[in-house]
Symmetry: none
């Protein structure tokens, strides 16, 4: 690399630093446990404010369980549904509700739910992105109506952007 | 808590005791094994009276198996179906037949059966409530027609109210 | 068959009937649900009398679950252990404690527990025989000490002989 | 119940209320999600202070997952181990390390690990009690040495007493 090119990069970097307050915040491609906890608690707060009893799961970039909470009196069956929604959302980097449109009878990926130890393909699973728009994990919410679950999931996912 | 408040509560409690005969009857939020056995035998008697050969499972508030019986000559495949019906009914506090209406193709929770190690979402699973209307477990019946299974399940569940 | 032979058989049968009160009681090679219930309740009564909290499972000749009860406050983990003890006892027609002696490191069937979806090879599983000494099922008891579990299982099994 | 008996009970209740400040504090037999979160965060703080990377799981009285967190860079394989430790501790109401002493070759419950979908019987699982000493759930910790895991689990469990 010649001196001129190095200088250009240096100047560009300085400008970047000057216009951005977050320039020195490390942005990784995997959700940290602190952020997973933030997502979890933001979603929980939203659920409480809207009087919905839910289970909330957060998985990391590797689709492995990172954080989880089950609200008192929420459905027992929603533990597994919430975890599977989060995993499904990360397995295919998609809003689980969108995936469900493709898995209906006659759909292009009909019955894909049989793979990966069981998928959940209705709304409530949602990818989590970092500030750069890179998917770093996913959230799954189960216990309310599918619209409530999806809204809570999106609220949680967006709480760290 | 100040003394006046304590006194008010005390007086209210006295009134409550005086007007109620059931004040000291213990009603818990989990089915006892004696009640589980009552539910089982009531359902079995109903099945025998109507000449239906069934498997009957009762789960507790935690969706754990509490009591079970398989009638002679009933389907071998109904052992697991009866247990899964009971668990499904408690997992989501619902008549399994009602759940099945929502899991059809195009339904809002299509293919939820893939969660929780396998759900059964046709009639025959039914929540069991205590005298206060609180769900304390569930019953699952399998072996007859879905209408017969459901009727036997409801008969069993209501035998302890 | 000639007439003389027929006569001999007839006379032998008459004698058999005359000396036996149970000659016309049907004895099958599979436990009935009524007998399974008797075994269950006998074992439960024994457990209550000796203040042991147990789970009790009865399987039929096909090693399929026939009857089950979990006493209040007994271990949650004993549900599966009781069922597996009963199945193991019938799978190999043996007192599960005897089987365990052979499955130790260096034993002739070391780690057979890995088969059949998981076996339990310590005491508490016991074959159930009919009046003719034929094995017609098995009982599994879990929740007390292994000696208590075994004693309750044997008491239950012998209640229908 | 006659009027005199009712009155006696009423008077006794009044006295009970007057002498006790905690008479109206609800203590249940199942861990709340707020307490589960407290246990989780106390254990996490302890792990961070002692530089141990762990997975922490909390299950409720029904041995169902209630809360979970996986610290960054902790073992992927510890997700399942932590959950199974918590479940095992509640399944048999025991320090998992104590259970492990009984499951060794020649032990009285050798190979019980094959039940309940897989148990973990080395240290790191520990029952959680409420202020009355009643077991209301359990915690499982995995990722450090067994001594570290156990110490963190106990610290978490005792944080809500």
């Amino acid at each position: 690399m010649n001196l001129l090119k190095k200088l250009k990069i240096a100047i560009f970097t300085v400008i970047l630093i000057l216009i951005s307050n977050t320039a020195f915040t490390q942005i990784t491609n995997d959700i940290s446990h602190e952020d997973a906890l933030k997502v979890l608690l933001a979603a929980k707060k939203k659920a409480e404010e809207t009087n919905v009893l839910v289970n909330i799961a957060v998985v990391d970039a590797g689709a492995n369980l990172k954080a989880f909470i089950r609200m008192d009196e929420s459905f027992l069956g929603s533990i597994d549904v919430a975890i599977k929604k989060a995993k499904t959302a990360r397995y295919f980097d998609i809003d689980t509700g969108k995936l469900g449109e493709l898995t209906q009878p006659g759909g292009i990926i009909y019955n894909i739910e049989h793979s990966n130890g069981g998928l959940i393909t209705f709304p409530g699973g949602y990818p989590i992105k970092n500030k750069n728009g890179k998917i770093i994990g996913a959230i799954g919410v189960s216990g309310g109506t599918i619209d409530q679950d999806r809204a809570i999931a999106i609220f949680g996912a967006e709480s760290i952007i």
